[in-house]
Amino acid sequence: MIFKWLDERLELRKFKDKFLSKTFPTHPTFLLGEIALFSFIILIITGIFLGFLYEPSTKMVPLFGAMVPSAYASVVRIDLLPMGMIIRRIHHWSAMIMIAAILVHLMRVYFTASYRKPREINWLVGLSLWGIAMGAAFTGYLLPYSNFSVTATSIAYYMAKSVPWIGDWISRLLFAGDFPSSGTVPRFFFMHVMLIPIALIGLIGLHMLILVKQKHTEPLSNKNRKEAEGGKRLIGIPIWPEQAVISLSFFFFLLFTVVLIATYIPLNPIETYGPPSPGTPVMRPDWYFLIVYGFLKLIPGNLSFSVLGGKITPETIGGVIFPTFTFVVFALIPFLDRGKGPQNYIENPLHRPFMTSFGIGGGIFLCMLVVAGYIDVLHITPEAMTVYTILSSLAAWGISYTLLRLYNRKRMEGDNVR
């Protein structure tokens, strides 16, 4: 009924025939990007709720007899509302899940070589989405203005300040003056609720448009069947109704999981951290920033030198050069590993010894840096941890490469015998 009413006015049938009948290839790993998208939707919904109640200001106001920044007071008041704390936790957990899902999605694309021509652009768009999502998480850190927030942001301020040549200017631009300044919270709030979400929505739209235009990569198992049929269409299920039903139930399952986690596992308890005070609390950022944080712990503190008048400090290496370098390596992958023709089927990771083992080694390296964020609890000296990190990632790379080469030699021999 409603559809008919709308169709008479908007000619929806055309749209339905063109887009909703598109096919989506089925493979268990093709839903990872959807986890990220759905987490983003949950983030927006909970973010709207929080945005109505949050006060982006550091003006001191009374709260239970003590003077605290009004941003902190407003978040404490949100926590006291019925469901308030749960909504805040759902927001924070969804952010962690979104960034994790993007990373796992990126790994899937990497290991199956789906980034190859013609999908280099979408690889870069996806990579920017990952970076901007972390920017959203970072600006969100400061907003409750607890002792934790201020310490975490102060660390980032020093990292921005350590950029050679333009560090002072960059840090003042990002933090609206020298942090802590009264302008920092309003500027971060604007970035967190306006600038970054708009960029994310735009890039997600572009990511999906390119996906629709280029079509999804298909599982290898489709290849023979497709050649036998001689068809050009993707083999899979149509967006409407099959894929839509799967996605929708998947969304609600994710929502259920996030609510469950948020209900039982506390996250960022600002009441425990308290308002900003002198002294650095023993704290650790969320897992994705632990990579950089761990790297900063490992790097020797006296490693300073000058290049063309620019000062390179340990913070420059750990906080600026290392993340930039990692992103550049990721960005270059589709341009360094090129296939022969257009890649429309996913590759078997076992058949690509070099790229797969490189990915495993790199993955272990990043995991070890997360562990390095915990060296104080693990009672490992930074020097020992540096050795462990380098050795374990090199070992993972070498061993997996050797094993995959052996496997492939066996496979080739098997093929020849047959």
């Binding site: 102060s154 020093y158 200017w169 003042r172 631009l173 020298d178 650095t280 900063l296 712990k297 503190g301």
Partner: protein, 184 residues
């Protein structure tokens, strides 16, 4: 781009009409974007004296920065050897760069490169802001031998050398002038 209008083909020496138009367009876009660059200056405010520039002066009196007696004057007698407290100069607590760590050790323990003339009755003041990532340092107290206690920064788990001897090689924090009038 190759098929230029026949009218332009004639004069090879001068600028073609197409190139001229293109040049004007590029120049105007560059000019418009260039004028926006001035905004970047406005958006990065420079706060003189704020941020992480300490305003501690000789003669400042130190007060507790943390704990139950926050705001009270720190008395030499209230600190034992091996103790350290976080302190602010009185009336300058709004500047986070002013936080210092007041350490009390045995007077005879101080040796170069510590500026011995800047110590007072076994007390020494260091900036509590770590030179690396701006975290506030903490004091690791060794009960058995107070002189081997040291300053540590949690953010990167490294120890600063403290006055008695260089325990673990690390850059020294900025040492402040401790004037007799700074303490009560």
């Amino acid at each position: 781009m190759v098929d230029e209008p026949s009218g332009d083909k004639g004069d090879k020496k001068g600028i073609t009409r197409r190139r001229f138009t293109l040049g004007i367009i590029i120049a105007s876009i560059a000019g418009a974007l260039g004028s926006l660059l001035s905004l970047l200056k406005i958006l990065a405010p420079e706060e003189k004296g704020g941020g992480y520039v300490s305003t501690i002066k000789p003669g400042d009196r130190f007060i507790y920065a943390k704990g139950n007696n926050t705001g009270d004057y720190i008395k030499v007698s209230s600190l034992n050897i091996g103790d350290a407290v976080l302190a602010y100069p009185e009336g300058k607590t709004s500047n986070p760069a002013n936080i210092v760590q007041l350490i009390k050790l045995d007077e005879s323990a101080y040796k170069a490169p510590t500026h011995i003339n800047l110590t007072d009755q076994g007390l020494i003041a260091y900036s509590a802001i770590c030179t690396h990532l701006g975290c506030t340092v903490s004091w690791v107290e060794k009960q058995q031998s107070p002189d081997t206690s040291y300053t540590e920064c949690f953010c990167h788990n490294r120890a600063y050398s403290t006055p008695p001897e260089v325990q673990r090689s690390w850059v020294a924090l900025h040492q402040f002038l401790l004037h007799r009038s700074g303490l009560k």
